[in-house]
């Protein structure tokens, strides 16, 4: 390829990514009349050893195919272009046992590289190096492979981004370094805001999450999702519900977890959280625990995220198309 052709290709890719890439898709999720949430079940080949990346990769492919109607890797290109620098926002706060699994992250990294993203353009992150290490991740800034480090390593943009009740600085990983974010939450009960899933995981992108737990996190959780750089860059959510927790969260309480053996994929974080909430409530009923409302922590922020002001997605079950595979 000569220099001229190279430049043409590069510019065309950037334009295409900007005009037709994940940004368009992410916005469409908010504007469509209904949203799709894919629940892909997987059984571990060896329950003792857990899941490996290869098996998760095939399930992930099927989940994204169901979500987009396209085969992998074309499905991935609906969200991510080869020119993107992709941040994978994991949830590592609860340590080993209830953090985004390394196998899932590895599977996502593999697929991103398959569509042409250089390994060094993938950054696995959460709030602090310490949190990631506690969950079993190895900190790395080696650009020959996917990098992995905490927000504390790069700091926060100095600007205050505001929406509604939220006013925060945002990690430079979102504002300066990454062009796209894939949200990789886990599915768990939360002692203050009721449920921690897609929307709540975004608290790891801001400098002051401790200020946003009043009033069961409502409207703060919804407001944070609308801070401009977050709204613009989060393109896809894949929830690690391989192990889920129905009580005692956010810390890991093994006696309140169950092997759900499922990956949940969606672009509509509100719809995903609504489904997660329902599943957790069902499990709580089964275990004869009070509902989250009775426990004083109904996750009302989910409905707020769907209201006319926020318009982040769908909260009504009638408008959520759940595909189980």
């Amino acid at each position: 390829m000569n220099r001229r052709a190279f430049l043409h290709t590069t510019i065309a890719s950037i334009m295409a990514a900007y005009l037709f890439g994940g940004k368009k898709y992410a916005k469409a999720a908010r504007q469509d009349r209904s949203s799709t949430v894919v629940m892909a079940r997987i059984e571990p080949s060896d329950p003792e050893a857990g899941f490996n990346a290869l098996r998760l990769q095939s399930v992930l492919d099927r989940a994204l195919e169901s979500l987009t109607g396209l085969p992998s890797p074309a499905a991935w290109k609906q969200f991510i272009s080869p020119n993107d620098v992709v941040g994978l926002k994991v949830n590592a706060l609860a340590g080993k046992g209830l953090s985004t699994s390394k196998a899932l992250v590895e599977a996502v990294c593999n697929r991103l590289q398959d569509i042409g993203i250089p390994a060094g353009h993938i950054i696995i992150f959460d709030r602090m190096d310490r949190d990631l290490q506690r969950a079993g991740y190895v900190i790395s800034t080696n650009k020959k492979k996917p990098q992995c480090y905490g927000n504390d390593r790069v700091g926060f943009d100095h600007r205050i981004y505001e929406y509604g009740a939220a006013g925060s600085r945002i990690t430079r990983l979102v504002t300066d370094i990454c062009t796209a974010i894939i949200n990789l939450p886990i599915m768990k009960d939360h002692g203050i805001v009721g449920v921690s899933g897609a929307l709540k995981n975004l608290f790891g992108l801001i400098d002051n999450p401790n200020k946003y737990h009043d009033n069961v996190g409502d409207p703060f959780v919804a407001d944070v999702a609308l801070l401009k750089p977050i709204r613009d860059k989060v393109r896809l959510t894949i929830c690690d519900a391989l192990t889920a927790q129905y009580e005692g969260g956010p810390p890991y309480m093994p006696h309140w977890t169950w092997p759900m053996n499922t990956l949940i994929a969606a672009t509509d974080m509100v719809a995903m959280d609504r489904i997660i909430w329902d599943i957790i409530e069902e499990k709580r009923r089964e275990k004869r625990l009070p509902t989250l409302r009775e426990a004083g922590r109904e996750p009302t922020y989910i409905a707020t995220a769907a209201d006319r002001n926020h318009n982040l997605g769908h909260n009504e079950l009638n408008n959520i198309n759940v595909i189980k595979i």
Binding site: A94, G155, F156, N208, H213, D214, P250
Partner: protein
């Protein structure tokens, strides 16, 4: 690791201040993000089942799960034990005139060795120091300074007092207490510059080692506290009453924000409450607001509004009422409540003249409330 311009300036300022104060040892080799963690168990909390704890330091009384932090962001539950993350971790140290706090009736013209950590237990949308008050420990470079080092530095620099200020000292109560206890043995006083949003037990404990307290009374309505502070008025009023009962020298600052807490009735209610609960000798400072942080859509306070507030308080019978953040305004001066003669003339933080002798007005011998020597 790259260091941004902002962090470079933060670090440089920190080092400069330490150099001035003689505390140059530990920060010089430090880069942003390299803060060494130092855990001290918190003193005000109770353990709950399932590794939860309830913080008992401030009226918020956060219930905190394992590996989570309280609203202040500087106290963390680790395995059911609650720790302060800011003990011995100041991020700002300066030598200020005591008038800057402002404390006008406490050793006028003296200097206060002023320190802050990160963190705050409220969220004022108009905070002037939000870059440290709203930060978490891992976000701002800090020094490693144990209490005895701070107390010694204040003594070496001939400061009459140590001021716990800039951010909210309630959230570093243990560190403040330990510094103040050592400083007292060195004849250096301690003054707390606080929002007063603290539970009674820790406040009473602190009264044993403090000499003066300045309370930022943000407004006199619960609405204001709820909407602009994320706190409550009632516990702050309770703190003021507690300080009075403990005999603590207390001054009140009221930042007057246009359209938010400058209503004539609110100011009248405030003044009457002070007269009834605290008496006429508690100084009140009505200070000027400037647009800041998340409250940039409002204008600065008109000087006439400050003067109106001052007149309302004087009419209610409060003896010492000041205007603040208006250098050169006559409301900065101290007047004898009996003969009305000017006793202390100030321009900004500078004392032009001080005529108080033996705690009295030299013209009519009226006792002037305060700590003067």
């Amino acid at each position: 690791m790259s260091v941004s311009r902002r962090k470079f300036i933060q670090c440089s300022c920190g080092v400069g201040c330490l150099y001035m104060s003689g505390l140059t040892g530990s920060l010089l080799a430090k880069l942003p993000g390299q803060n060494r963690e130092q855990l001290i168990e918190a003193r005000y909390y109770e353990k709950l089942p399932h590794r939860k704890i309830r913080c008992l330091l401030c009226p918020r009384e956060c219930v905190i799960d394992d590996l989570e932090r309280g609203y202040c962001g500087v106290r963390e539950n680790r395995g059911g034990t609650y720790y302060s993350l800011v003990y011995g971790k100041p991020v700002s140290m300066h030598i200020d005139p005591i008038e800057k706090k402002p404390l006008f009736h406490f050793l006028p013209g003296s200097e206060a060795f002023s320190i802050a950590t990160v963190g705050c237990n409220v969220l004022c949308k108009f905070c002037q120091n939000w870059e440290i008050s709203q930060a978490r420990p891992e976000q701002v470079p800090a020094a490693d300074e144990p209490p005895e080092k701070i107390a010694r530095a204040a003594q070496v620099n001939r400061c009459a007092s140590i001021a716990y200020t800039y951010n909210e000292p309630v959230i570093f109560a243990e560190y403040m207490y330990d510094i103040a206890e050592i400083a007292n043995s060195l004849s250096v006083h301690s003054v707390m510059i606080t929002n007063g949003y603290i539970n009674a037990k820790p406040m009473r404990d602190l009264c044993r080692v403090l000499r003066a307290v300045k309370i930022d009374l943000k407004a006199f309505t619960e609405r204001f506290y709820r909407e602009l502070v994320a706190g409550e008025l009632k516990p702050v009023l309770d703190t003021l009453i507690l300080l009075k009962s403990e005999g603590m020298w207390t001054e009140i600052v009221y930042l007057v924000i246009p359209g938010q807490n400058d209503d004539r009735k609110e100011l009248t209610d405030l003044s009457r409450w002070i007269m009834k609960e605290l008496g006429p000798d508690t100084p009140v400072h009505f200070t000027r607001f400037h647009p800041m942080y998340r409250l940039t859509n409002l204008p600065s306070t008109p000087i006439a509004t400050l003067q109106m507030a001052r007149n309302i308080a004087l009419d209610a019978g409060i003896h010492y009422v000041y205007t603040g953040n208006v250098p050169g305004d006559p409301g900065e001066n101290t007047y004898c409540p009996h003969c009305r003669k000017m006793l202390i003339q100030r321009i900004g933080y500078h004392i032009v003249r001080n005529e108080i002798k033996n705690n009295q007005c030299p013209y009519c011998n009226t006792k002037i409330a305060g700590i003067w020597q």
